[in-house]
Every structure is written in C-alpha cells, then in structure tokens.
C-alpha cells in the first residue's frame, strides 16, 4: 500500500490522525496533514482505508 495526502485539499480537522495515528499527523504550524508512513504495514491498512473514507476533503488516496 502507498499512501498519499494532498496538502492543498486538506482542511485540517484531523479525522485521519484519530483513525491512523501511526500513519498521519498534522503540521505544527497550520494543522495540515503529513504522512508519517507512506508504506504502512498490513495491520494498518484497514485504519488507513477508513481514514481515506472519512476524510472530508477527499485529500487521502491509497494505491
């Protein structure tokens, strides 16, 4: 799995961080998403898919 987050689209409400804290974080200066682990291990895949599904700004893509 490869995880990508679009920082232009992100509106910074942090749902992804709550779903998959090992994969997503928010930038200190403006709360915009950062990807901590772009190739997360299999046990995190479900959490990442959930994060992509609940992201309100459709900023997270998974390939």
């Amino acid at each position: 799995m490869r995880v990508h987050a679009d920082q232009e689209k992100c509106c910074g409400a942090g749902s992804c961080v709550l779903s998959a804290p090992d994969v997503f974080d928010q930038r200190e200066e403006d709360g915009i998403v950062i990807v901590l682990d772009a190739q997360p291990p299999a046990e995190l895949h479900e959490a990442v898919r959930e994060a992509a599904a609940i992201c309100p700004a459709a900023a997270i893509s998974v390939s």
């Binding site: 910074g12 409400a13 749902s15 974080d25 928010q26 930038r27 709360g31 309100p56």
Partner: protein
Amino acid sequence: MTTAESLDALTVPAARASGCPFDPAPSVERARQTDPVIRATLWDGSSCWLVTRHQDVREVLGDPRFSADATRPGFPFLTQGLRELVGRNPTFIRMDDPDHARLRRMLTADFMVKKVEAMRPEVQRMADDLLDRMTDGRTSADLVSEFALPLPSLVICLLLGVPYEDHAFFQDRSRVLLSLRSTGDEVRTSMDELLEYLTRLAESKQGAPDDGIVSRLVARGELDFTEIAAMGRLLLIAGHETTANMTALSVLALLRNPDQLARLRDDSSLVKGAVEELLRYLTIIHNGVPRIATEDVTVGGRTIRAGEGVLCTVNTANRDEDVFPGGDSLDVGRDARRHVAFGFGVHQCLGQPLARVELQIAVETLLRRLPGLRLDIPFEDVPFRHDMGIYGVHALPVAW
C-alpha cells in the same frame, strides 16, 4: 399521498413526532426512504431541496459546485434572523474557497488533534471542579446550567482569551442568535453587541498580548479588528452551544437507554466510540446544513439547478440504514465514525477534535463520579429545544 399532505409533510423546519424527541422529523425520514432528494417549503415560503441520504449528503457537501456563500440569491435560510444578517461581518463558515481556506487555515493549528489532546488534563480539572461545586451538599441540580454549559464555555474562553466572567453576556446573546423565534431586530442587536464586545477585546490585546487565539490573530497583523471580532464571535458561539447541548442530550439519551449506559459504565474503553455514536444518533444540527448550487448538478437522480438552495439533513443521513444498520437505536459499541454530525467537505467542523475531547471527558467523568445519576422530572416534561437551530434541552434536572 395527496398534494396537501405532501406539501404539509415537507415544511422546514419539520416537526418531530411527539414522544420521539431523539428521532428526526417523520416527514423527512419518510422522504429519505421514498424520495431522498426532494423539494421542501421553508418557513418563509421559499423552496429548496432536501438531500436526506448519507451518500448524497457527502456528495453535496464535498462538491465545490455547491456554495456556502450566503450572499448568493436563493441561499436557504432557516430563520428570519439568519437572513437579515447576510453580508454583515461574514465569517468563513459562509464563504467559499479560496477565502474560506485562507481564513480557516489561520485557526487549524489551534484545533489540531495534538494541541487539543494536550488540553485533556486542563479540561478534566475544569470538569472535576464543576462537579465538585454541583454536588457540594446537594443531591440534585440542573445539569445544563451547572455542568454541560459552563464546561465548554470555560474551555472556549481560555482558548480565545475571553474573560469567563463575561459568560452571562455572551451566553445570552448566543441564545438570541440561535433561536428560531428571534426577530430580525433582536438578532441584529445581539450580533452588534457581541461584535462590539469582541472588537474592544481585540483592541485591548494590542497593548497586553496573551496566549489566546484573539491575541495571536491581532499579532499576526493580517486581519483588522472587525474581522478578528467576527472570527471570535463564530468560535465563541460554535464553541459552547454545540458541546453543551450534545453533553446534556447525551446524558439524557443514556438515561433512556439503561442497557447502553450499563455497558459504558462497565467498560470505559467504550467512551470514545460511544461519543461518536451519540454524535450520530443525536445529530444536534437538526435542521440541515445549507448550500446553494452554482451549476446544474445531478444528485440521487434529481437535477438541482444552478441558483437552487439545498439543505443537507445530516440527522437523517446519520440514520441511513445503508451505512448504519439498525441506526434508529443507540448502540455504544457501534463503529459510527462515518457519521456526518460535523458536516462533510471543506467546511467540516473545525472544532471537532475539541468537541470530542470535551464530550469524552464530560461523559466519562459524570458516569464515574455520579453512579446514581437519574432524571429528576418526568421524561415528558423535559424542555427540548424544538425552537433552536441547535437541538438539545433547555434544562436537565437530574439527581444522584
């Protein structure tokens, strides 16, 4: 269905069924099942679309062709007051990108998960202090005025740098602004008073800066005092009325569902999930999230034309059986994370990490400290906020 019935069925705001104060209005629920994107008549005689299903609500709120700009002709207003305020000191909740994003991003760092999680000990202390006072030598109280309302008020005051001593003033003005019954005059006066108060507050931070959001917006130097005041007003109102009502309504819903209450008491690891489920089940933004189409867009098989207003009824979306099987019952073990109680799209609630922390602490602390918590009046006598844009209860007499 006769014409008269169908017209009557879809007047907005729609009435809830008596005896079912936690459920969306039956007319709108029926629409979700039979005709999920449907025309409705607003209180002022204008018409708009109701979008009632989960998938369609996400589509509309996630689509930039639906605008949140209330100055566009045809924008649906839920009250007289809201309509009269158009164009006066707008805030980013009723703007589109790029203006919306530019302003919202001035605040996202303050509400990000890390920041808010770091506030837990402080919020816990506030909750404990309030309960100490509420229970001191007494066995009954109004949970709204002594706990549910002061907790988020204290928190948002701290964050903004607003003196909590002034809470009676801003709580009263917020009430006027959120009441479906307020006249245009009342709303304008309250709005002006709040803005004047916050403008003076912003000015005062110039000489005496502190760590609050208002002061930092002043120091940032990108906005004038009126713009900062408008932002402060949005945060102040959004920051205390919402969580306050969710807290009180959550307690009431749990008291009415003793099996769920017992599960939660037995296993406090359920609290986070239970708060999501309560947000879903109760959906206090109960009259819908408004937008206006800027192009012709097909939603759920219906064409919404450019210039037509839309209300996304997030409360019915959160009962959508396709996403939440058995959604008409409260189940604290459910995975409810896909709820749209905070909206969806780029306007999705900025304060949601804060609301979550406040609600988790409020619910956990109340259940732990007051094992005998019960309603102190007959359920039929609970004063529900049918008259307010944010649903909840005006008061909640409890005993323990």
